[in-house]
């Protein structure tokens, strides 16, 4: 097992109290696995991604453990985590377009970053990887503003994976790109995995269609909890959690004309995580909710590798 997350709880400190953005999430990832992490805004997917590499000042590790390649990952200890960052866990951030220092040439910045981490730069390897994502080598002597959005995105992908991390967290990296660039990015990510630059990858997105193409496993989160986790084609073709079913139903299908049948959304909105309601958190929006849903459903493995947190599944 590459990654083992056990009952991870992360809260945000706010003036009104603690927002339980991640409220007891457990899952495992195999070596070489790409996990697609999906859900609507505020479901905790970005919080989970950030918890695994660097919590910001408002976040607090409220419980649970993370194990990476058999070693405990000290997610709550900012100092102790530093040894793992970049070497073992790395991040392609949501804000790749502005992730590089605007006043440094890219090559120089990479050199300074690596030196600060006590690593000597392997120029040949860097060139090789730049070729691999289809960038000209001259980008190293350019400033970030001289690159297009897609080029910056690919450059950040190269930088983040330069030390061959065991786990790569890719946070909404395709959200700001047009579909043809999205395809190039997805291909590059698969290439990175197949070349062994990264062992496993968490791909955070709200684009279910894209995730199912890229990921081996898809994990759906709702209101800070795991809703369903299964192999990608299972999630698309035979989802068991009513939330997943509704999500899949709200995707447009090729060959269907929507002037006859309106595309269905999911009515309502997720509960506040400041004081989350007892029982199943999807209960209020769920079409099949019953009396037992007043009690919180445990995550159950209903068939091999298919986990669902629902009484009705």
């Amino acid at each position: 097992m590459s990654l083992r997350v056990n009952d991870l709880r992360v809260h945000y400190r706010t003036l009104k109290g603690e927002v339980k953005a991640l409220d007891g999430v457990s899952f495992t990832m195999a070596d070489g696995e790409i996990l697609g992490l999906a859900g609507e805004s505020g479901c905790g997917k970005t919080t989970l991604g950030k918890s695994l590499i660097r919590m910001d000042g408002r976040m607090r590790h409220a419980g649970g453990t993370v194990e990476l390649d058999g070693r405990n990952l000290p997610v709550g200890d900012d100092r102790a985590m530093n040894a793992f960052r970049f070497h073992e866990v790395s991040l392609i951030p949501q804000y790749s377009m502005s992730a590089m220092n605007p006043t440094r040439r890219i090559g120089k910045m990479i050199g300074e970053l690596l030196r600060s981490r006590g690593v000597t730069l392997d120029t040949a390897e860097l060139h090789h990887r730049i070729d691999l994502v289809g960038l000209p080598r001259e980008v190293l002597s350019r400033y970030p503003i001289e690159l297009s959005g897609g080029m910056k995105q690919r450059m950040v992908m190269v930088i983040s994976t330069l030390l061959d991390p065991s786990l790569l967290i890719a946070d909404e990296i395709t959200s700001a790109l047009d579909v043809s660039t999205q395809k190039a990015v997805v291909k590059a990510m698969l290439g990175f995995r197949d070349n062994g630059f990264v062992k496993s990858m968490i791909f955070i997105t709200h684009d279910l269609a894209l995730t199912s193409n890229l990921a081996d496993t898809v994990m759906i989160m709702y209101a800070g909890k795991l809703a369903e986790k299964a192999p990608a084609d299972k999630v698309v073709k035979a989802p068991r959690h009513p939330y997943t079913q509704l999500l899949i139903n709200s995707l447009p299908e090729i060959g269907v004309r929507y002037d006859q049948r309106k595309l269905a959304g999911i009515p309502g909105s997720p509960p506040s995580l400041l004081n989350p309601p007892k029982g199943c958190r999807f209960r209020d929006r769920c079409p099949i909710a019953g009396g037992e849903c007043a009690e919180e459903p445990p995550v159950a493995e209903i068939e091999p590798d298919h986990f669902v947190a629902c009484w009705k599944a």
């Binding site: 793992f84 992730a99 590089m100 006043t103 040439r105 600060s116 981490r117 400033y143 503003i145 930088i159």
Partner: protein, 336 residues
């Protein structure tokens, strides 16, 4: 980036500075001439000559000497002509010394005050502000002190320092550029005396400017430390030393613009400070020129200040282009 862009950019800048210079010279020529009062009359009054014939002869002589008998447009053209020969006219206050000589005698004092106080306050203020940002204890002390300092009028701080450290403590002299008992010479004794007189005016200029720079830098650094590139570097485990260095380099850019904008204010501050300490620089000269209705001296001093501020601004423009790659791309963009 090609050279033609650079040439175009600086060509355009030079044109703007040239226009500013012409306007400044013109305004400068106009102001004393449209001021109330007659300088020749006041010179005659000072001469205390009683015979009317002698007075008339002297009036004709002076009017001729200063060119006041010529039509006003001729005076304007003469002014430009003389300017290019470095001739600022003859001072009325210390007649018949040429204005250029009077100014050159005062300039070293003003520069010796201005340059160290501007550069040191800028450097120390930026360093200190950057250091204080995100360090709670320092931030809570530096910030209020900085606000008080920067809100203090130059002459007020000067008066406080002169009173506290000069009159009450008696550590420093409160007036003049050097002791009246000494003659200017290249001796250690004179140099130390000069330094002794220099400290208080320098300190009041330095302190007021320091607060502004420290506050500005603190705010800029906090902004930069929250920016995406800082977060990315932290996520990759870069030490805060590297992140702070990047943040400092990027935060200094708006501070340089600030320096260009502040120069005029700093010059004005130096002038009033000199007056408080009777320091023999350009500020005291301006006061004397106004009191004695000395057109030529006033014009000459203003001219010198205008040229100084323009040159300093131009230097800052060059520095900015050298350290911010984005302005360079902007130049290339203007071409396309």
């Amino acid at each position: 980036m090609g050279r033609p862009h650079v040439r175009r950019y600086f060509g355009r800048k030079l044109l703007i500075y040239g226009l500013t210079f012409v306007v400044a010279v013109t305004v400068n020529w106009m102001i004393p001439r449209f001021m109330p009062g007659d300088p020749v009359a006041s010179m005659l009054a000072r001469a205390r000559v009683s015979q009317p014939a002698a007075v008339e002869a002297m009036r004709t002589y002076y009017t001729n000497l200063f060119g006041f008998d010529q039509p006003i447009w001729q005076q304007y053209l003469n002014f430009w002509g003389a300017l290019f020969q470095g001739d600022f006219g003859i001072s009325i206050w210390v007649f018949p010394t040429p204005v250029a000589d009077v100014i050159l005698a005062a300039v070293p004092y003003t520069l010796a005050l201005m340059i160290p106080s501007v550069l040191l306050s800028y450097w120390v203020g930026n360093r200190f502000g950057a250091f204080a940002a995100r360090r709670k204890l320092l931030d809570n002390t530096v910030l209020p002190v900085g606000y008080i300092l920067t809100a203090t009028p130059y002459m007020w701080l000067a008066v406080i320092l002169a009173w506290g450290l000069g009159v009450v403590a008696g550590w420093f002299p409160v007036a003049g550029g050097y002791s009246f008992s000494l003659q200017p010479s290249w001796s250690w004794e004179f140099f130390l005396d000069l330094l002794h007189h220099w400290i208080l005016p320098f300190l009041s200029l330095f302190l007021v400017a320091l607060g502004g720079w420290a506050i500005g830098m603190r705010n800029m650094i906090i902004y930069e430390l929250e920016s995406d590139y800082s977060n990315y570097l932290s996520a990759l485990g870069a030490p805060s030393r590297l992140i702070r260095r990047y943040a400092y380099r990027n935060a200094i850019l708006p501070q340089i613009t600030g320096l260009a904008l502040q120069l005029g204010v700093l010059v004005a501050g130096a002038l009033v400070t000199e007056i408080v300490f009777s320091y023999p620089g350009l500020g005291s000269l301006i006061l004397k020129a106004i009191q004695n209705q000395d057109f030529f001296l006033l014009q000459g001093t203003f001219m010198f200040i205008v040229i100084g501020v323009l040159v300093a601004n131009f230097l800052i423009d060059i520095v900015y282009v050298l350290i911010d790659p984005r302005t360079r791309t902007g130049m290339a963009g203007a071409q396309a």
